[in-house]
Amino acid sequence: MPLIQVLPPGLVNQIAAGEVVERPASVVKELVENALDAGARSIQVDLEEGGLALVRVADDGSGMEREDAVLSLERHATSKLRDAGGLTTIGTMGFRGEAIPAIASVARMRIDTCPDGKPGSAVGTRISVEGGDVTAVEEVARARGTTIEVRDLFFNTPARRKFMRSTPAESGHCSEAVVRACLARTDVGFTLRSGGRISIVSPAGASTEERAAVAIGREAARALIPVDQERGGVRVHGAITSPDHSAATGRGLYLFVNGRFIRDRALAWAVVRAYAGSLPAGRQPAGVLYLELPLDRVDVNVHPQKLEVRFQDARAATDALHHAVSEALRPSPWLRHAAPGASPIPAVPIAAEPRGDDVADVLSRARAAGGLSCETPPSNSSLPFPVELPRGTAQAEPPSRAVPGYFGSLRYIGPFARTYLVCEAPGGALVVVDQHASHERVLFHRLRESLRARKLEAQPFLVPPVVTLPTATARTVEGALAELAQVGLEVEPFGGDSFAVKSAPAVLGGTAMGPLLGDLAAQLAEAGTSSAVTEALDGLLATMACHAAVRANQDLTREEVRALLDGLDSIDFKARCPHGRPVVAELPIADLERRVGRR
């Protein structure tokens, strides 16, 4: 017998499933895309246990004849592609004929479907499949359209099942899949129910902005600026947040190419670049951008989950995107209205149009306005001379001569670049302290110490702030209430995707809870609730410290500087600083003298 054998189809499908069906959210994505391809006007998605127990997608699309329905379960059976030529002009979401058989091979599936043309006496087909084997084909009464139920996903592949996260985490991924479809097709109505509870309802014909609010949250959606430009045959439209809003991750930026959600670093970077430094360092914009170009100029057949595409001319795409976003940001419409929610047109006609604003002005103002920055400060504020760190010490360590009371003994000279505190050390060295990084570190230390000693002072709210989060983020927070409570944030669900913050650690002072909660949630989503608890907690504390710390470009009083320097003395420098950056640099007088030629 030859060693090499052709695999049986069941196993082939399971292997394909490994690529296509990563988690319940993949099932949601594939079924919803099929419904869209079938011309549905309204799509309903139901989940149980984050989709692990049940994913049901019901549509009012074309439906299938019995024969087609049976064929749809065959590998590489598709109605969307006929020949190789067709591969270059794919206008449908699907084209491989792989999704249904792959899902069917790792779950218990039931397809109910009924094609057009039989109003009233509608007789449809019901096909039951278990682990890829058809167990029954029957008649069923139903209206035009298709309902596909997928139960007990991965029941026959326990290894895969083990990789699944908690129910809230999986349901977060699923709602993210629905959100993407919502954004891709504003002309179609969507409903998502999770555990019987409605979590997304968006009627057909909603505006991009309305849909964007579901994806990026109401607060961020208020900061949206419309984008619409064409360049080099690529049209870019949608909306993007003004520099007033920013997030710690790029998850709020949704990019679509010819209606398909994709991930593409080069494109995302083109968007960030268009902000030309008006965003605080390391922060990302949110928004929804659609790229439209002739079908034959993109290859969609490059990624098993179709999350990537290949452009014939990648430069043209990034250029068009960069140009469109820059153009939208140029008039800086956000600068006129500080209060979010204020109507964009003043009720009293006293506003003259801003005339001849120079982009440089706009940007320098935005920069001056500052913001959170946990990354290296922008290069324009870096030191004009190289400051040497004492040899033999790790970057994050204080100068080697540091003794207890080192920071307290510094004589504060003044601020530099509104970001650094310039001081003189008793031995005659020039010491430069990064105000944000050092304060962040002090706060991080305090938070961690008081948490360890179980003495975290909590300041409850009299009027709790209510924070509305993007749907997927909201699900993450829902599943992480206990973790948040551990770091002193008492958060209660407040209906839908909203939460009330009942109490926060007192050291956070007047920190804005909305952005903080958003960043914490993003972090939790990335870490997953299962990861080592202490590590996750440290990460959360670091984020809280970062939010509460004084920012770069914030003027400090002498008293505040004193308190900060004294605070630095009380912390244990051997502990890793939350973001691993040095907070202080020292230039010994001898080095300075050598540099100016005195020695």
């Binding site: 209060a339 009720a347 009293v348 005339r355 103002r365 009299l462 009027v463 002072g509 809870m513």
Partner: protein, 376 residues
């Protein structure tokens, strides 16, 4: 435009504009003041950031009518530097330059055409209500400090004005504490519901009110009115217009506790001093102090693992059950600082429920501060 005006008068006019002009604006004109010479023998000086606008008129010897906008800060600096009670002449020359002359000194400032300056909002038929600046100032001072500076809670970034028949009530909160003051007033603002006055507008209002209160007038007068989403305050020679914050103010009545069971009465000044002293050793950002209320005695204590501890006792009128409760000392200090009464009442329920501070006696009916305790 050409005119002559007294240096002190012009200094005062320009000083008013300094808080309003946008220092970092991208619209250069917003960092300017508009000067308008009128045939009525007046110089009008206006400043705006599009949300808050102030415009004042001042007697001047007008030679020629007209207007020009110039940098608010530079003109102010120049006029301030011109010592004495003398006069300064202002003249618009070609290319929108402003010539400033006083004695031997001469300046030429680059300006912008007056027409480019955003027009001051005009309102018709504003139902103005006469108000006493002293009364309004006192209401503002006892509430504005509690407003939030967290820009994401924009509906708390101001002071809530609620018209109640025969009363004018201001309320402000930052989410942790709340301050409410009211005063008897006659007149109808014809507002259907309460409105939120923005922090910046309030701070400008405060300046105009203090100006009035400290001025020479025997009984200073003012008028307050609301129209088109704006609040308007005017006095002879000056108008302030601020755009209201859109959004709804939280239902503040819900968070004001019913008369507490544990009520202590104590000297305000003494309590303030003790809090200031003890909080020297409370931790930097949280400012936590612990209050231990017992029969006839209140002990206030603070501790900080890095620094040490402090405590002080003070006499109170109290004979209820003992209670321990934590507070952010700053919240208490803020309230005690804006009050002028000799004695205050501290009304508490338990260590988790909000506490109330109000003047003892009758004045307590017109002021309420609510503070959420801290869990320490």
């Amino acid at each position: 435009m050409e005119l002559k005006i007294g240096i002190p008068e012009l200094t005062r006019a320009l000083a008013r504009s300094q808080g309003i002009v946008e220092k970092k604006s991208t619209m250069p004109i917003l960092s300017h003041v508009l000067l308008e010479a009128r045939s009525t023998g007046e110089l009008a000086v206006s400043a705006t950031d599009l949300d808050v606008s102030v415009s004042g008129t001042h007697a001047a010897e007008v030679v020629k009518e007209g207007g020009i906008a110039v940098s608010a800060r530079h003109l102010f600096d120049i006029v301030k530097s011109l010592a004495g009670e003398g006069k300064v002449s202002l003249k618009k020359t070609a290319n929108n330059h402003l010539e400033v002359k006083a004695g031997q000194a001469e300046f030429r400032l680059v300006g912008l055409p007056g027409e480019d300056f955003p027009a001051m909002p005009k309102f018709e038929k504003v139902p103005f209500v006469p108000v006493e600046p002293t009364t309004v100032l006192s209401l503002v001072e006892r509430t504005a400090f509690a407003a939030s500076t967290d820009e994401t809670r924009y509906n708390l970034n101001g002071v809530f004005f609620e018209p109640i028949a025969g009363l004018m009530r201001l309320v402000a909160t930052d989410g942790h504490r709340l301050s409410m003051a009211d005063a008897v007033i006659e007149g109808d603002f014809r507002l259907k519901k309460g409105v939120i006055l923005p922090r910046k507008g309030i701070s400008e209002l405060r300046k105009l009110l203090s100006e009035a209160v400290e001025g020479a007038e025997e009984k200073p007068k003012g008028e307050l009115g609301f129209a088109d989403n704006s609040a308007i305050f005017r006095r002879p020679g000056v108008v302030l217009v601020m755009r209201l914050i859109e959004g709804s103010f939280p239902d503040y009545r819900q968070v004001i506790p019913k008369a507490g069971e544990k009520v202590a009465t104590l000297g305000r000044e003494r309590l303030l001093q003790v809090l200031r002293r003890v909080s020297l050793l409370s931790s930097e950002k949280s400012n936590a102090v612990k209050l231990e209320l017992g029969k006839g005695n209140l002990r206030i204590a603070a501790q900080n693992p890095d620094l040490g501890e402090a405590r002080e006792d003070l006499p109170v009128e109290y004979d209820g059950e003992p209670l321990k409760i934590g507070f952010n000392a700053k919240y208490l200090i803020d309230v005690l600082t804006v009050l002028h009464d000799a004695d205050v009442r501290l009304e508490l329920a338990d260590d988790l429920s909000p506490g109330v501070v109000r003047p003892s006696g009758e004045a307590g009916e017109h002021f309420t501060a609510v503070i959420m305790p801290m869990r320490i």
